[in-house]
């Protein structure tokens, strides 16, 4: 009996030892490694950052300091030693003017079933269960930084050198950028304070900034929010762009929306877009299936328009070279309306000013409704096949009115005829013209 009991104890002990020895295989390496380089104040730093949260700080020392915090679990003791030795001896390519840091210190990394196999740059292989790194980078304020990053959260101080960012699935929170910024980003969220000129290529990215210099952007499925921006050159596809104010804008876009409170000159080529601007100087439009909504504008020129809607509260001058299925609604037109070639358009001008110079429309299947002040004298000329005129004859002196078959030639004067009085001239085919006096 005694022998049996001893045997049992012995077995339990053996099992315990074996399981403990298995468990003891798993080791955690938690350590911070650091590198320090003396550099010039305007050093060029290339930084490759992968799956590593990064904090970039600037200082007035001519030194780059990089700290890498590593937490690796589930390592075999020998693997832990391999990794530790490797990182302790890791060095980056440096010279006084150029430093290249790459935190992707492996050739191959493969993760399956919570187990990661890592082949280090020196060819050695290790296995682990959890791999987490984060970095802290201190650079001179004038550093020209090229940052290529993936799957990371990045915080960045004000930086005054040139900045070149290539981000993929990152979150970047940056301060001021005192020099030009070149940015390429996909699936990222980016916030800046103030930036100088920026050239960007965005894909499914949200970007926000206080003020920007000149902006040149190729963008898709992105959102951009900014207070003040200088000149804007946008090539856009399915974006949302919101600005407080802009200088001149070139907007070549599909399925995008552009919203601003104030803009100067705009040149737009749009397809299925929406533009909403409160104050706008002049705009040139080439568009299809788009909506334009402005409060106050100077001159609006449409070189080509198909199925667009244009809406103004106050507009000085509207000039349309070619338009089909357009809808134009203007609360008050101050100076002039000119349509060279219109097809099935609808014009609704609620009011015209006493300074109206004229309305000249050539339409087919169009509907024109114009409100004219009672006190305003004007000269009306119409040459329309299948006309539909709705004009208050009272006070209008008819000079010519010929209706042959369905062709109408009409000329009349409202009020007293004087030289350079506003001329309303409507030509075309199957046009409905209504003039309301108010």
């Amino acid at each position: 009996m005694k022998t049996n009991t001893y045997c049992k104890y012995y077995l339990v002990l053996l099992a315990f030892l074996i399981s403990s020895s298995l468990y003891a295989q798993s080791k955690t390496l938690q350590k911070t490694y650091s590198w320090k380089y003396s550099v010039s104040a305007d050093v060029n730093l290339s930084f490759n950052n992968y799956d590593c949260d990064l904090n970039i700080q600037t200082w007035d020392k001519p030194t780059i300091e990089y700290k890498l915090q590593v937490t690796v679990t589930g390592l075999k003791p020998e693997d832990s030693e391999i990794l530790n030795n490797y990182l302790e001896n890791l060095s980056f390519h440096t010279s006084a003017n150029r430093v290249t840091i790459d935190n992707r210190f492996w050739n191959e990394r493969n993760t399956r079933n919570n187990k990661t196999k890592l082949e280090l740059r020196n060819g050695e292989k290790i296995t682990l269960t959890k791999f987490q790194i984060s970095g802290e980078l201190k650079v001179p304020t004038g550093t020209n930084l090229i940052l290529d990053s993936k799957y990371s959260n990045i915080e960045m101080d004000d930086i005054y050198g040139k900045l070149n960012l290539k981000l993929y699935n990152d979150k970047l929170y940056a301060g001021n950028v005192g020099s030009n910024l070149s940015l390429e980003a996909k699936y990222s969220t980016i916030e800046f304070e103030n930036i100088k000129d920026i050239t960007a290529d965005l894909y499914n990215t949200d970007m926000e900034a206080k003020d920007m210099g000149n902006l040149k952007i190729d963008s898709k499925y992105s959102k951009i929010f900014c207070n003040e921006v200088q000149n804007v050159d946008l090539n856009s596809y399915n974006d949302k762009l919101v600005f407080e104010s802009t200088e001149n804008v070139s907007f070549d876009a599909k399925y995008s929306s552009f919203i601003a409170k104030k803009s100067k000159m705009l040149k737009v080529d749009t397809y299925n877009c929406t533009m909403v601007i409160d104050e706008i100087e002049n705009i040139e439009i080439d568009s299809k299936y788009s909506k334009f909504e402005f409060k106050n504008g100077g001159n609006c020129t449409l070189s080509s328009s198909f199925n667009d809607g244009v809406k103004y509260l106050n507009l000085n001058k509207l000039k349309i070279y070619e338009s089909k299925y357009g809808t134009y609604k203007i609360e008050e037109l101050t100076d002039k309306l000119e349509v060279t070639d219109g097809y099935s358009d609808k014009f609704e001008i609620i009011k015209t000013s006493m300074n109206l110079k004229g309305i000249k429309v050539n339409e087919k299947y169009g509907k024109i409704r114009i409100g004219i002040p009672e006190q305003l004298d004007f000269h009306l000329k119409a040459r329309i096949k299948y006309p539909k005129l709705n004009i208050d004859d009272a006070g209008v002196t008819t000079k010519i009115k010929i209706l042959e078959n369905s062709d109408l030639e009409y000329e009349g004067i409202k009020g007293t005829e004087i030289e350079n009085m506003p001329l309303i001239r409507i030509t075309g085919y199957n046009v409905s013209l209504t003039i309301n006096e108010y």
Partner: protein, 183 residues
């Protein structure tokens, strides 16, 4: 007293010794006792063997686990990772997106590239999404489970559905609107 009693017993031994032992019964008793001892000893032996067997199996299992664990460290990794291999519910969600895309593609009909620049651009965008999807899967292979990559993959599916629907809309627009009036 004792010597007298001893003397008496010696003299009358034969008269006194009348009962004879039942030898058969004694031998049966001894045999039965021997059998019982034999049975008990067999049981102990079996129990002892059983314990050793359990112990051996236990050691064997642990040893095998150790060997397999060591071997698996050096086994080449599978080529592809899927969302369902990470999490069943993710795999289910992916399946739903895929079947929705399949239905939308069927609604769309033709797979051929369009001559219309707007539709062609959408088709190119969809192809680009395939590249981005492959890139995300590669990253998933490298990093393992990562919320951002998974979000990107689903965002790609949603974008694809959006573009396919846009393509349907544009095709209808072209057929029903522009052609009707422009031809």
């Amino acid at each position: 007293m004792i010597s007298e009693l001893e003397k008496y017993l010696k003299e009358n031994r034969e008269n006194l010794d009348t009962d004879k032992p039942d030898q058969l019964a004694i031998w049966e008793g001894i045999r039965a006792e021997l059998d019982e001892n034999k049975k008990l000893s067999g049981n102990n032996h079996r129990r002892f063997l059983f314990n050793w067997n359990v112990a051996a199996a236990f050691i064997l299992i642990l040893g095998l686990a150790y060997i397999i664990s060591n071997l698996s460290r050096n086994l080449p990794a599978e080529n592809t990772i899927t969302l369902s291999s990470l999490d069943k519910s993710l795999g289910q969600r992916e399946k739903e997106y895929q079947s929705y895309i399949q239905v939308t593609k069927q609604e769309l009909g033709s797979n051929e590239f369009s001559n219309d620049p707007v539709i062609y651009e959408i088709q190119t965008e969809i192809m680009r999404l395939d590249t981005l999807y492959n890139q995300s899967i590669n990253d998933l292979n490298e990093i393992g489970y990562n919320e951002r990559i998974i979000q990107t993959i689903f965002s790609i599916y949603e974008q694809k559905i959006f573009l396919l629907k846009l393509m349907i809309l544009e095709t209808k627009k072209k057929k029903s609107h522009e052609n009707k009036y422009l031809l």
